[in-house]
């Protein structure tokens, strides 16, 4: 049971309004360090976490970009972003800081259903 657990982490909140997104990514990296099989899903306002050129020094906060860039180091390779959420927010995929795979809500449903557990951030 332990070694093969598929853990889906869903990220739905904006990056700097509170430190929830920051702490969610900290938790994600900790799960990665723990050797778990992790799938990340950015949807809703969570897609804003992936925007490039974030300069969080201007609001005295740590950047999320460091953590997002560390995904590979921690063997977190399945990173998905909701295409519909991007479209509703007028964000093009060329504006993203990482090459997350764009999925439709229906495709996201399928990804969710293959997980063994979900952490909702």
């Amino acid at each position: 049971m332990t070694s093969s657990k598929k853990i889906g982490i869903t990220l739905g909140h904006t990056p700097y309004g509170s430190d929830l997104a920051q702490e969610a990514l900290d938790a994600t990296l900790a799960m990665g360090l723990f050797g778990q099989d992790i799938t990340l899903i950015f949807w809703g306002d969570g897609v804003f976490q992936l925007l490039k050129s974030q300069n969080s020094e201007s609001v005295h906060q740590k950047s999320l970009e460091k953590q997002i860039n560390a995904f590979e180091l921690y063997d977190i390779e399945r990173v998905f972003v909701c295409a519909q959420s991007l479209e509703q927010r007028n964000i093009s995929t060329s504006s993203l800081c990482t090459d997350a795979e764009c999925l439709s809500p229906t495709e996201i449903q399928k990804v969710l259903s293959t997980q063994d557990t979900l952490l909702s951030f």
């Binding site: 049971m1 657990k5 929830l20 900790a30 360090l33 557990t117 952490l119």
Partner: protein, 129 residues
């Protein structure tokens, strides 16, 4: 089944009380509660110096009672706790703070405990907002 809870909400939010009620209900049904992990603003639930008026619902006290009856693991994330001022004696010494306020029965520990709980539990339920 084995459950763990990930709690993200401060005491002022009803979600922290829902988490308690969920824990209570699952234990009544003879499920097992492996760990409650207080993260983000839920770290504030770990304070031992909240002064709740008589006759008012004291979630912290209810958690205590439940834990004494069922001995599950209760953890405040150390990173979340430190920056919010929820600390134990060791950290108070390390950071040269004049007081410490972590409730008895709660551990101040790392995110590895959340990962461990996720792996070891059949269900992990998130309480946020």
């Amino acid at each position: 089944m084995i459950f763990s809870l990930l709690v993200l909400s401060p005491p002022s939010s009803q979600a922290s009380s829902s988490a308690y009620q969920f824990a209570n209900a699952l234990l009544l049904q003879k499920h097992r509660l492996y760990r409650v992990f207080f993260y983000h603003d839920a770290a504030y639930n770990g304070s031992s110096i909240q002064c709740i008026g008589q006759g008012e619902f004291d979630v912290a006290k209810e958690w205590d009672k439940l834990q004494q009856q069922h001995s599950f693991d209760s953890v405040v994330c150390i990173a979340a706790g430190l920056k919010r001022g929820i600390i134990n004696k060791v950290e108070a010494l390390r950071y040269e703070k004049a007081a410490h306020n972590l409730r008895n029965g709660i551990n101040l520990s790392g995110l590895g405990e959340l990962a461990d709980a996720t792996v070891k539990s059949d269900r992990l339920i998130t309480f946020g907002g």
